[in-house]
């Protein structure tokens, strides 16, 4: 700015100086007897070219470039204004490309790359340990946390949180909005929320250490935050979030100081946290509960004093002047001392090193996050990057076509003495100007989009689940990003056409003949079109493969009934009165009562098949399965005899399970594929096998089928499970003893309307025990929540609009380019028509010019798509890597649309009047 001002001042002064010179010369001539007029012209003649003198004098000060830039910008603006159609299309194209990129970058930053919600959040860090095995673990036990908090000097404060819990809320007054909000939320509409079968109200509660708010440096909106631990034990308190206070209590100021009950424990609401305050999380919870009160609310579990109970994520504020490296060194020493206090057989009993990284809501540093997430982020970034490539190629081909029609102007400027560099600079300035304008439009576009997305995110869950906060506040980094992209894009797409057209203008200046585009720029234009088509086609194919994969995941024959089977999970109150015997009895009674309902066909206790199964090694010779004798590793599932009827799985051979004196017999039923795998071409009934789960994943206290020899008594139809490759169709059904049915879901096959069924169940449950709560889903709803469906669905939701934008941009490019070719070749068309060419021939000529690059693009695009689908293979359900139908149909459709886009402007050429065309120049 200062530069600019200096330059203006300098200019004014020079002007004055020259005027003075002229005046002096004039006065002198008049004194010598010349007339006014003679004096004036004489002085001017003697002085010479005023403009040139000014320019030379200013050159001395090195202002030339400012002036040139100013001139270029002014001229560029005028040129852009002269062809508003081109300008609008180019700006819109680039804006779409840049906008999509900005949106993706903002979303990434707002969601994955965000810091903690704290004052001076750059001082906050996350803590974790790299265990002896090399794995990073960010969960600490409460006693360990206390030790770190009290003994580390590198931190001015350490906080712990054990995450989000759903607690029953009572004594909170009536809430009218509760039911309707659950149905109106996005997640509710998508069927992602369970139907809650109880009159109980739940609230999401974040459990955090007492110093949480003071270390984060956040003051309550009203009231106060937690006091000392001793004080909390005497009078239990809780904080409420502003969002929930508004949603659930309509901002009632009288709530402060009142008491509510969570899990039946009376707690005084002492403060309200600021609106949208998420602390160390992504969601605004309904309540914040101090960690020290956790045992009070969970009398059965919640052993805070247990050093092996890894409950909490730990974060800290670095003390002033302490580096992450220093803090890490101090923490590693203390971690070594603490490992001596742990069970020496566990991983935590072995030496570990500390891991500290800048504060983030995610439990692990970015480089250690799961591969799937990084992969998804990369995929999205590549896809949106490709859209930008299309947009740039598009505008470049437009620019090239326009530059071709500007040959006359460029030639004129060259012959008037403009240097080639100067012309290139002029064209580049125009491109950069386009890029900047597009950047501004893109910023507005993506901003509106992100704001909309943030609103959707905030309303995605009903109040009791908390509020998802998606911060899209103005960020200088994002501004910088957009403008860098738009400027770079401007220069990038302007470069090739600028060099090309200045070169051709130079050579063409020597030849008198113009009117057809030079061969070189035609080839370049073809390359740009081919590039657009290739990239857009790859995006389209990837998108449609993902969509087909989703449809397949929904439509695929699972081998069991997913529409008529309801999965019911029962929760018991957290109360010592509910012991294992009572819970089992309640589940058994519930099962009996459900089976008595008129429209229920069958009831069973089992895990729903949609989540996949555990695996066990199989040996056939009666030995315990070991590395030497294992025949294969198969999936297994514990089921009751009623399982097959409930899910509608046919028994193909043999018989069903029978109970012997209340205990299951030692027998198994194999799925068809499992039978084929173990005994190909033989009758498996009557054979026996042993199972071993050693080395396979299983949870603590889970029933295991290890040990006994099982006899195969039957073969059931294949079912499709949760894996992408369908490997879990090979399944061993192991009979389930009915001693702990509360560990399993209740599956119900019903003829009733799945919408109405939860209400019938609710009546049954409250007649058995009004304190029970339950959730119900149909199996098809559960399928939609599994990774098998969800991953490709999410990928399709992102890839499809991106692909469509790509297609749209490529078509605009083809349309625009053909329009320019038509204008360029008007004279040629006129000659052809004068010599007797038909309209059809002319259209064919125009289409011919575009067909070759489009075909080349389709060819390259198919290769790109094959590569993309190879990368996507992990997310595609039941499709070959190269899905022929998709490839051929999408390419054919693309070709048809591309030719249509080229045909529209080609008709213009056919309407050329030969006489007019020949007079054209």
């Amino acid at each position: 700015m200062k530069h600019w001002w200096n330059w203006r001042k300098q200019s004014d002064e020079l002007e004055k100086e020259i005027q003075h010179h002229l005046q002096m010369a004039e006065t002198e001539r008049i004194e010598r007897g010349a007339s006014q007029n003679e004096a004036q012209t004489g002085a001017r003649r003697e002085f010479g070219n005023v403009g040139l003198v000014k320019e030379l004098a200013r050159d001395v000060w090195g202002w030339r470039w400012v002036e040139d830039l100013y001139e270029d910008l002014r001229f560029g603006m005028r040129m852009l204004g002269k062809s508003p159609g081109f300008t609008a299309v180019a700006i819109l194209t680039l804006a779409l490309g840049i906008g999509v990129n900005t949106a993706a970058f903002t979303a990434y930053k707002a969601f994955l790359d965000r810091s903690l919600d704290a004052r001076d959040s750059s001082e906050m860090v996350n803590l974790a340990l790299i265990l002896h095995s090399g794995a990073a673990d960010s969960y600490f036990s409460y006693p360990d946390y206390e030790t770190y908090r009290d003994r580390l000097h590198s931190f001015s404060g350490l906080i712990a949180d054990s995450g989000n819990e759903f607690l029953t809320l009572s004594d909170a007054g009536n809430s009218e909005s509760r039911r309707s909000s659950a149905d109106g939320s996005l997640a509710g509409k998508l069927g992602l929320l369970p139907s809650n079968i109880s009159d109980k109200e739940f609230a999401s509660t974040m459990v955090v250490s007492e110093n949480y708010f003071s270390v984060l440096g956040v003051l309550p909106l009203r009231g106060r935050t937690f006091g000392e631990i001793s004080e909390l034990a005497a009078s239990p308190t809780v904080l409420i979030s502003e969002n929930y206070w508004q949603k659930r209590f309509a901002g009632d100021p009288a709530l402060l100081g009142k008491s509510i009950r969570l899990n039946g424990v009376a707690l005084t609401v002492i403060g309200i946290t600021p609106r949208n305050f998420v602390g160390t999380h992504l969601l605004v919870p309904d309540f914040w509960l101090p960690l020290s009160l956790s045992p009070l609310l969970h009398p059965a579990g919640g052993a805070l004093r247990d050093r092996e109970n890894l409950c909490c994520l730990v974060r800290g504020r670095l003390a002033p002047g302490v580096s992450i490296e220093q803090a890490r060194a101090e923490m590693t020493v203390l971690a070594g001392q603490l490992s001596a206090l742990h069970d020496p057989h566990s991983e935590w009993g072995k030496p570990a090193t500390a891991l500290i990284w800048p504060g983030s809501p995610f439990p692990l540093p970015p480089e250690r996050l799961s591969g799937g997430l990084k992969y998804a982020v990369l995929l999205v970034m590549v896809a949106v990057g490709m859209v930008l490539v299309i947009a740039c190629a598009n505008v470049a081909s437009l620019q090239l076509a326009r530059a071709a029609s500007r040959q006359n102007e460029l030639r004129m400027r060259l012959s008037l003495g403009a240097s080639r560099l100067r012309l290139v600079r002029q064209l580049l300035t125009e491109s950069a100007l386009l890029g900047m304008l597009a950047g501004v439009v893109a910023l507005m576009l993506s901003w509106t989009f992100m704001k909309g997305l943030a609103t959707v995110a905030a309303g995605a869950f009903p109040a009791q689940y908390g509020t998802l906060i998606f911060r899209v506040s103005p960020d200088p980094g994002i501004f910088a990003y957009v403008f860098t992209i738009s400027l770079a894009a401007g220069i990038l797409f302007g470069l090739a056409p600028a060099l090309e057209s200045s070169r051709s203008a130079l050579s063409a200046a020597l030849k008198a003949n113009a009117g057809t585009s030079p061969m070189r720029s035609r080839r370049l234009r073809g390359t740009f079109i081919a590039a657009q088509v290739a990239v857009a086609l790859a995006l389209m194919i990837a998108g449609s493969m993902l969509i087909r994969s989703c449809i397949r995941a929904l439509k695929v024959d699972t081998g069991y009934d997913i529409k008529r089977v309801v999965n019911l999970t029962v929760q018991f109150p957290e109360d010592p009165k509910y012991n294992a015997e009572r819970e089992s009895a309640l589940v058994r009674e519930l099962r009996t009562r459900l089976a008595d309902l008129p429209d229920v066909a069958a009831v069973t206790s089992a895990s729903p098949p949609v989540y996949g199964y555990r695996r066990a090694a199989v040996s056939l010779n009666g030995e315990t399965p070991s590395a030497q004798n294992t025949r294969t590793v198969l999936c297994f599932s514990y089921v009751q005899a009623s399982y097959f009827q409930t899910l509608g799985i046919p028994l193909l051979l043999g018989r069903n399970f029978q109970m012997q004196a209340g205990q299951p017999e030692l027998s198994v039923i194999l799925s068809e594929s499992a039978a084929k795998k173990l005994w190909p071409d033989e009758n498996p009934v009557g054979r026996s096998l042993r199972l071993g789960t050693d080395g396979q994943f299983h949870r603590k206290d889970e029933a295991l089928p290890d040990g006994p020899t099982y006899q195969v008594i039957g073969v059931a139809g294949d079912t499709r499970g949760a894996t992408f490759d369908g490997s879990d169709a090979e399944l061993v059904y192991v009979p389930l003893a009915d001693d702990r049915p509360q560990d399993y879901s209740i599956l119900v096959r019903t003829w009733s309307d799945p919408e109405r069924f939860p209400h019938e169940v609710r009546a049954v449950i409250s007649s058995i025990d009004p304190d029970l709560t339950a959730e119900s889903h149909t199996l098809s709803e559960l399928v939609r929540m599994t990774a098998t469906f969800f991953l490709p669905a999410l990928a399709a939701v992102i890839a499809t609009p991106v692909g469509l934008i790509g297609l749209f941009l490529a078509l605009m490019g083809i349309y625009g380019t053909v329009s320019y070719i038509v204008v360029l070749r008007t004279r040629e068309v006129g000659i052809r028509m004068a010599l007797g060419a038909k309209k059809r021939d002319v259209v064919g000529l125009m289409l011919g010019e575009i067909t070759r690059p489009v075909l080349a693009g389709l060819f390259v695009g198919m290769f790109l798509a094959a590569g993309a689908s190879y990368l996507l293979r992990g997310a595609l359900y039941g499709l070959n890597t190269v899905d022929g139908i998709t490839f051929v149909s999408v390419s054919a459709m693309f070709l048809a649309i591309a030719l249509f886009a080229a045909w529209l402007p080609s008709r213009q050429a056919a309407r050329v009047d030969p006489v007019v065309a020949l007079r054209y120049e």
Partner: protein, 117 residues
């Protein structure tokens, strides 16, 4: 190449002439041109296209200073004057100029030079 050499010579000479002219007191641009013309017996005509770039170049090098004054007919006039650095430069330029003219004279009249000692 020869063209460039000529430019350099002229440029250097013009700088010397301007500095010398300002030796006798501050002047505006037109005044400098007039003084050079008068003192060279109307032989040297400095055109504006060379004068102003030269003046601004010398100003940028801080050999001459510039100052805005108001003339009798109430006009803003830019007046140049010699700085201390300019004075020093002038001495150097003069010495160089005299060496060059001596040298050229020596080449043009070789006999004289041999006879001199």
């Amino acid at each position: 190449m020869p063209y460039q050499n000529r430019m350099e010579l002229l440029q250097g000479t013009l700088d010397l002439l301007i500095l010398q002219t300002l030796m006798w007191g501050p002047r505006h641009g037109y005044g400098v041109a007039q003084a050079i013309r008068a003192n060279s017996g109307e032989l040297l005509q400095v055109d504006a296209g060379s004068l102003y770039p030269a003046l601004h170049r010398l100003e940028k090098k801080k050999w001459i200073g510039a100052e805005w004054k108001v003339s009798e007919n109430k006009q803003d006039v830019k007046v140049y004057k010699l700085t201390a650095a300019g004075r020093k430069r002038l001495t150097q330029e003069r010495t160089r100029w005299e060496q060059i003219t001596d040298a050229i004279a020596g080449v043009l009249n070789p006999a004289k030079k041999e006879n001199q000692p």
